[in-house]
């Protein structure tokens, strides 16, 4: 069968799925990097099991990596899958639902033997029973072909078999006309100490490509033109890595050393891993005995003059709450990152959710106001981390950064900022040596001085007990406590004076405003843009700061007939908006461990607006 045509696509969504030992995340990442370097915009959604070693071949062990490639500015990892690669029957079973009608389905045919089918709990072979007739099915004997490609290497069969992920990647590279050179270089670097394995993986990659070329297995070949992104220099950046970079950049700009106290937890650990490599930037990473020690050490470091950060995910966030309150009482700069994951308790540790918002806002004893900033996309994490540190120092306050598993593990092209243009971070310690008081405040920001141990003549004591304003001595007077509670709240409130006017995408009044926060950014944006094209009177606002809320938000909300708030929780921002502005916000809530498809939001917008005319009676 000859290649019939080269189809030019605007965008394509590919999902690679296999057993967790099959290396799907690795080849998915390689495809992402190559596509980004090729000039496409990309969005990714890694999806892997919580068990490190679920039994091979079972549904519990399926690991997937979804990638959206576009020739325009895309915002999501894709709704429906155009091309699915299934390395075994379990991977097919777990992922076939996502594949579009008539989508391309490539399977590793050899794995559909009796054992494989049984492990996946198939009663009949789906390759033969006609159940896949709605797709373009391509059966490829990947294991045998890989072994054939590696025959000369002298590797044992088991090691050969392990290279079949690169064989699959080679096929995709052919299908989508991607260059192999970046991946070849990657393999050479990764296996620099094991040249035989490097050679084998490269042979497998080339083997997959050659197989497609020689056998003319596919009907079509696809082309996705480079995206027209804003001019500049780009690199591909993952969310967790971006947070680490943002912190280092902030510390460098502030001219202070950086201290990270952390305790490993999925999906936040990668921030610790990233930052542990930055020792030559003076970054001190401390792997504590638990989350309490991690945040406590960070607060200690902040007290002693370092820029201090602590990173975690939901369960760890719970443990940190008492110490966060100490940072609030002592008014010390500290940034706490919560890469949210699904569920209370251990929940679904590898899945995503936005359900820690109320914990961040209210999950501590007493009146405990804390600024909260939320990242919207992987590359946005850089700016958010940077901004959190700037505000923490400027206002002498802990700041919570909310990210989530989807953002943290995802990656996208990042327009590298000019170092000179990053906002200044001024460390003004507000110290008056002649008349120093630990809780003396600046007029505009209500900030107390950051006097650190080692500074002669400024010895003073701080702690969790209420202090007299200005003097900083322990104080139990009722009036003082009330005054201090109000000052702490007011301080956080004043941060909103730093925000410019809230950006509204679309008209600044109309039938519907879609209000979003955090990782729903891409899905909401895509949905709203589609609906706008259809002529609906819908606009969009995305919140970066959730505490404080922008000063102009109340007015904006009132200019729309309806307000829709899509969230990956059961309505947490909705609660806040309703109580803050007394408006009847409509929630769109999903809580399945997965991000929104833009289609889900689009459907809801249409339902609210009563069809596509944009008017509702």
């Amino acid at each position: 069968m000859a290649v019939e045509s080269v189809l030019n696509l605007e965008e394509v969504t590919i999902r690679l799925a296999g057993d967790s030992g099959d290396g799907m995340q690795l080849v998915g990442t390689e495809l992402t990097n190559t596509s980004a370097l090729f000039g496409n915009d990309v969005g990714t959604l890694p999806d892997y099991p919580a068990e490190i070693r679920a039994p091979a071949g079972t549904l519990a062990g399926v690991s997937g990596f979804q990638l959206h490639i576009g020739s325009f500015d895309i915002h999501t990892p894709g709704d429906e899958v155009d091309v699915l690669v299934a390395m075994n029957p379990a991977a097919l079973k777990a992922n076939i639902k996502a594949l579009k009608p008539n989508g391309v389905l490539i399977v590793n045919a050899e794995s559909f033997d009796e054992k494989g089918l049984k492990l996946a709990a198939y009663t009949a072979n789906p390759l033969e029973d006609g159940s896949l007739s709605g797709y373009q099915l391509f059966r490829v004997e990947m294991s045998s072909h890989t072994k054939a490609a590696l025959r000369e290497t002298g590797l044992d069969f088991k090691s050969m078999e392990r290279c079949k992920n690169f064989f699959a990647l080679g096929m995709i590279f052919w299908l989508f006309n991607r260059p192999m050179e970046y991946t070849i270089k990657f393999i050479e670097d990764k296996f620099s100490k094991k040249p035989l394995l490097a050679q084998a993986n490269i042979l497998a990659l080339k083997g997959g490509f050659a197989y497609c070329e020689a056998t003319e297995a596919f009907v079509n070949k696809y082309e996705i033109n480079p995206a027209k992104l804003a001019p500049g220099k780009y690199r591909n950046l993952g969310g967790n890595e971006a947070i680490g970079l943002g912190f280092v950049a902030a510390a460098q700009k502030a001219g202070l050393e950086l201290f990270l106290g952390s305790y490993p937890i999925t999906p936040a650990s990668d921030i610790l891993h990233t930052m542990a490599k930055f020792k030559n930037f003076g970054v001190k990473t401390f792997q504590a005995e638990d989350e309490i020690a991690a945040v406590a050490a960070s607060i200690g470091a902040a007290y002693a003059g370092d820029i201090a950060v602590t990173t975690t995910s939901g369960p760890g966030m719970c443990l940190k709450s008492e110490a966060i309150n100490l940072a609030i009482m002592t008014e010390l700069p500290l940034v706490i990152v919560d890469v949210q994951r699904a569920g209370p308790s251990t929940g679904l540790p590898t899945k995503t959710e936005q359900a820690d918002l109320l914990q961040a806002l209210y999950g501590r004893n007493g009146e405990s106001p804390i600024p909260i900033i939320a990242a919207s996309r992987p590359a946005d994490c850089f700016e958010v981390a940077y901004e959190a540190i700037r505000i923490a120092i400027r206002y002498m306050t802990p700041v919570i950064v909310l990210s989530d598993g989807y953002i943290g593990n995802g990656a996208e092209p990042w327009l590298i900022p000019e170092v000179e243009q990053l906002p200044a971070i001024n460390v003004d310690r507000h110290i008056n040596k002649d008349q120093f008081y630990p809780y003396q405040r600046t007029e505009d920001t209500l900030t107390r001085p950051w006097a650190i141990p080692g500074m002669a003549g400024l010895e003073h004591r701080i702690g969790g007990l209420e202090k007299k304003n200005i003097m900083g001595t322990v104080n139990y007077e009722p009036e003082n406590h009330e005054y201090m509670c109000r000052i702490r709240a007011e301080k956080v409130h004043r941060i909103a004076n730093e925000f410019g006017p809230t950006e509204i995408s679309g008209a600044d009044s109309g039938d519907l405003l879609v209000l979003g926060w955090g990782g729903t950014y891409g899905a909401i944006r895509t949905a709203v843009e589609h609906c706008m094209k259809k002529g609906m009177k819908v606009s969009r606002v995305h919140l970066r700061w959730i505490n404080p809320l922008p000063n102009d938000l109340g007015d904006i909300l009132k200019r729309f007939k309806h307000v829709l708030i899509p969230e990956i929780n059961l309505g947490q921002l909705s609660k806040v908006i309703r109580s803050e502005y007394l408006i009847d916000a409509i929630g769109l809530n999903k809580i399945s461990g997965l991000p929104f498809n833009s289609k889900e939001i689009e459907n809801k917008i249409e339902a609210i607006l009563g069809g596509s005319n944009g008017h509702r009676n």
Binding site: L37, G39, Y182, P231, G232, K233, Y234, R235, N236, L245, V248, A249, Q252, K253, L256, E257, F259, K279, N280, F281, G282, K284, F286, A288, E289, D290, A293, A294, A296, A297, I299, G300, A301, Y303, A304, G305, D306, A308, E322, A323, L326, T330, I416, P417, V419, I452, P453, G454, M455, A456, G457, E459, H460, R461, I462, G463, G464, L465, T473, V474
Partner: protein, 344 residues
């Protein structure tokens, strides 16, 4: 980071370390004596006042930093060692002192207690052991003896107590000592030794809570009984004790036994010779166990003081090494790392 460190112009005295805050422990509380000895010892350490940081958890004892005219941080229950770790790693130049109670260190803070010791972070750790919860008004603590009657254990506590020194030694402590609130001279000596130690210097201080556990240590502190019930560990010296220096400790297998030096059967030559520098912690551990044995005196003084790597210094060294090896980090290079492409 520029930290101002003016050398204090005149020699420091005890009053330089007294803050303007009124001390508010119960009259007769052992905490007063400890505060006074610390304030008395610090001027002689040769460290400028602004470099001292006192970090505490929560409890009566943990109010301590407010009464010291140094830098001070009164933190949350049990976590003082973790805060101290961050402070010391941020600035290894500081002299960081942790103040904690038996509940604070060994109940809620047990985890941080052992890990600070394990890392051998260079802090001075004073555990005020009154074998009771003071601040919360008299519940039994992890050092209370079995059968202790308290508000929360009206029929007697059923729990085995911790021996703080044994816990510390088990965690690998490089310095452990014990002293008594009622023995100011000995306390000053122990504090000085701790101040000179590089690494976690752990001191258990028996402290009388006059309100909720009065008299817990009278056998060890009162004139008539003290000398027969305690033994001062002195480096290089045999383990002799007793009102008339007429008793000593020798080893019988692994078991320490008390022997008379006057009955003609034993002489000083049979006794154990204390060696604080012994790499092997076994003897220190055996001494710690003497606490539990009513037939033996309770050891006080410095049990162990050995050199070992300190976490805070090692962090600093590793960073310096990394800067030397990889070059001082350049932000621009970091942001532009890896594969990049240009869109025009």
């Amino acid at each position: 980071m520029a930290i101002e460190t003016e050398i204090s112009p005149k020699p420091l005295t005890k009053s330089d370390f007294e803050s303007d805050q009124e001390v508010r422990w119960c009259p007769g509380c052992g905490d007063y004596a400890i505060l006074a000895q610390v304030q008395r010892t610090l001027p002689d350490m040769g460290i400028p006042k602004e470099k001292y940081v006192f970090v505490s958890g929560i409890g009566c004892s943990s109010r301590f930093p407010y009464y010291m005219n140094t830098y001070g941080f009164h933190t949350i229950h049990g976590r003082a060692p973790a805060f101290a770790t961050g402070i010391k790693v941020a600035n290894p130049d500081l002299s960081v002192w942790v103040i904690s109670g038996d509940g604070d260190s060994l109940s809620i803070g047990g985890n941080h207690f052992i890990h600070a010791i394990r890392r051998n972070i260079d802090i001075k750790y004073l555990l005020f052991n009154n074998r009771i919860y003071g601040l919360t008004k008299g519940q039994y603590s992890p050092t209370s003896e079995i059968g202790k009657i308290t508000k929360s254990t009206p029929m007697g506590s059923l729990e085995h107590p911790f021996n703080p020194l044994a816990v510390a030694l088990g965690a690998g402590a490089s310095f452990v000592a014990r002293t008594l609130d009622r023995d100011p001279k000995a306390m000053v000596e122990v504090l000085k030794a701790a101040g000179q130690h590089r690494g976690t210097a752990f001191i258990e201080i028996y402290q009388n809570c006059i309100i909720f556990n009065d008299g817990a240590f009278t056998q060890l502190t009162e004139k008539e009984t003290k000398l027969d019930n305690t033994i001062l560990l002195e480096h290089g010296k045999p383990l002799v004790y007793g009102k008339n220096k007429d008793k000593g400790i020798k080893l019988d297998g692994f078991k320490p036994v008390s022997v008379s030096l006057t009955d003609g059967k034993h002489s000083v030559n049979d006794l154990l010779i204390h060696d604080v520098k012994s790499k092997d912690p076994v003897l220190a551990f055996i001494y710690s166990q003497m606490t539990e044995d009513p037939t033996l005196p309770t050891p006080v003084g410095v049990f162990r003081a050995v050199e070992n790597n300190c976490y805070d210094q090692d962090v600093k060294t590793q960073i310096a090494f990394s800067k030397e090896k990889m070059g001082k980090g350049n932000l621009k290079d970091l942001l532009h790392k890896g594969d990049t492409w240009i869109v025009s």
